[in-house]
Amino acid sequence: MHSFGYRANALLTFSLTILALMCAMASVSDNLNSQSPTATVQVLNVNRFQKKSNGDDEVGITLDISADLQSLFTWNTKQVFVFLAAEYSTPKNSLNQVSLWDGIIPAKEDAKFSIKTKNKYRFIDQGSNLRGRDFNLSLHWHVMPKTGKMFADKLVLSGYRLPESYR
């Protein structure tokens, strides 16, 4: 009964069970963390605003983003993926979400930041509906754990109205 094989099997099973339990506990412990992130975003300038040759509107803007996401980090956090999305609705589409800027925060020390940037991804509408259009800016984050469940949430920030005419 107490052959090498049985003992190796028992040891392997036991250590894998303990490891799985520890992973589960680490993931559950994320729920105990209280989060209080803050952020502000300003549209500094509309650099260009035109209709592309295929008829879609395109905007280029400069953004000022500052945020403090340090409270999102726990001992089970590998990284936080943060992105700024413009959200608006048009007669054609009930919801448009366009990611304008994103970044990966690898450590808690980097989670308090302030940057001025042009939009990293092209802000293009499906169609020509952006003149005089109001859009919401919201900062989303996705917390990547070292193991276990992923978390995501967002802060809805100031809105902005695009100019009435192309420039």
């Binding site: 990284q79 999305a85 009930s94 448009n96 690898p106 469940k149």
Partner: protein, 182 residues
């Protein structure tokens, strides 16, 4: 000889009734694995509830060999979510993040255009899509990632890259299942 000798001895002592019993045990193991997989499919609503990350395009979030747990659900797909999608005429599904969503006015949520990008890639995924394809639609999406387990999937990568290890492992497990008496 210990373990190996015992195995050979017990192989010799197999009679017909025992052989049937072992075959049934083996069948039970295979079918319960199948039951668990199918049950996971029902619970998560995704046609493949667990996937192994094969590329480096989502680093540092996901590395090669990490395991992702997927869910489909009725919720609409939103920017920032990590989705697994299938391109027509491309066999291996891709795990990337949604960066743009355009949802049509119609009440059914199927009418949605999605653009994805890998965190570690410089460009969005239009280069990966089928020629001329600008957007993903709901039917391309197999699930969204909700949970994460590091390293575990590396076993399957090793086994697909070295089939010999796979056959040796399956053979050893089969032998163990046949010869074990409990």
């Amino acid at each position: 000889m210990g373990f190996i000798g015992d195995s050979i001895d017990s192989l010799k002592s197999i009679n017909v009734r025992q052989a049937f019993e072992q075959a049934i045990t083996l069948g039970m193991i295979v079918s319960s694995a199948l039951i668990i997989w199918k049950l996971l499919m029902c619970v998560t609503g995704s046609e493949s509830p667990v996937v192994v990350v094969l590329s480096e395009s989502m680093e540092p979030a996901f590395q090669r060999g990490d395991i992702l747990f997927l869910r489909m659900g009725e919720d609409p797909i939103r920017a920032g979510e990590i989705v697994v999608f299938n391109i027509d005429r491309r066999e291996i599904p891709i795990v990337h993040r949604v960066i743009k969503v355009h949802e049509r006015n119609d009440t059914n949520a199927i009418d949605v255009d999605i653009l994805t990008k890998g965190d570690n890639n410089d460009q969005d995924d239009r280069v990966l899509y089928a020629p001329g394809q600008q957007w993903l639609n709901r039917q391309h999406i197999m699930g969204r990632a909700v949970g994460f387990l590091p390293y575990v999937g590396y076993v399957t990568i090793i086994m697909t890259e070295n089939p010999i290890i796979k056959y040796v492992l399956i053979g050893a497990l089969g032998l163990l299942a046949i010869t074990s008496k409990d």
